[in-house]
Subunit: 222 residues, 2 copies
């Protein structure tokens, strides 16, 4: 296994995040690379879901992953076992990624040869919602153990994402999770959101999610 490349990133010296995000978007369009910004709480299962998604799609499209973390590279190691290119951004304790940091990750990854790049954002349901990275798709994960009341508590995140993955559905018998209540409060904030209940552990729901994702990527690339 190759050593993971770690890139130390800092808050951009240019204060205009939206401008930098648009530059990322233009660059990715030119390269024909679709980018997803993946956000969630700590421990919702972002990396496990990503590994499962990569295994299903890696023979069909060229995938690369930018992992972000404060100070570790455990997730990047997990991803690297799938064989797809991955690097690790360390942002020194910041609570979100900005567009400039993502640019560094993309540049290191050689995103120009890739069909699909995922930015695994810092585990945080608040701060990342305020930063456009230049992504084509904003996706968040809510895990069953976190509870169905989270849209009431973190409304901005639920309002801004295009799709919501409900992860760890294999544990639903252990927790008091009300899918109907969740859907009702999410749709109140975001009527057009796509919702994908799944378990990366058992595989339940993974095919539906991967089919959606592949369609999004392929229709964008045409």
């Amino acid at each position: 296994m190759d050593k993971i490349r770690v890139i130390e990133v800092k808050k951009s010296v240019y204060a205009n995040n939206d401008l930098e995000a648009n530059e990322n978007r233009d660059l990715l369009k030119k390269q024909n690379t679709y980018m997803m910004n993946l956000m969630s709480s700590p421990g919702s299962g972002k990396t496990t879901m990503l590994v499962s998604t990569i295994e299903r799609l890696k023979e069909k499209i060229k995938i690369g992953i930018v992992e972000a973390d404060i100070d570790s590279d455990v997730d990047a190691y997990s991803i690297s076992k799938t064989g797809v290119p991955v690097n690790q951004l360390h942002n020194g304790g910041m609570c979100h990624l900005d567009a400039g940091m993502v640019r560094e990750g993309l540049s290191d990854l050689g995103a120009k040869d890739l069909d699909f790049v995922v930015i695994e954002n810092i585990g945080n349901l608040i701060c990342p919602a305020g930063y456009d990275l230049g992504q084509n798709l904003n996706c968040m994960i809510l895990s069953v153990p976190e509870g169905h009341d989270k849209p009431l508590k973190y409304p901005k995140m639920f309002t801004k994402v295009d799709c919501l993955i409900i992860s760890k559905v294999d544990t639903v018998s252990v927790f008091d999770f009300d899918f109907k209540a969740l859907e009702k409060s999410v749709r109140k904030l975001n009527p057009n959101i796509k919702i994908f209940p799944l378990s990366a552990k058992t595989g339940e729901g993974m095919d539906t999610w991967c089919e959606y994702l592949l369609n999004k990527i392929e229709s964008w690339k045409q």
Copy 2:
């Protein structure tokens, strides 16, 4: 049930958080009120653990709770059913509480008549770690479903807290949670941390936790 008092708070106009935190500390000392700052990820079970703690201690000491949230009051309603005074801070989307916000919550709560106040911070493993609120005890919750690798990923939080509650231990058979690995990585960051595995649902570990807490409060108050 009384209507929950909601206090809209903003970032303090005074930039010196440490100064305000010290003022909180002085005020609480004068009032003989012990304050705990409770931090965790979203959905780790802060409120459920608090309700269970209050039920065990409310006949012994006078307790009050300050709930913080971006925009909801579901947690404050859950707490209010225990009969102890509670109010709800809304901080308009900020990712942490600061000492000035806490002062407003304490003032509304009438903390001078209370032995013990808990500040339930915003669900976030990063930003709250950077703000002294004037507390006597910093406590964090890590829930079993979040995984044992979190100290590697959120080192600052694990380094600064006095005690760590591992919640939802009743679900350990469903998740791949390695207590030994967790303890090893936590103690590397914070050798003197107290660790309390518990389940508010089954009651396991709750007595040990409450005994520790009561001892802390009573020995401080002497």
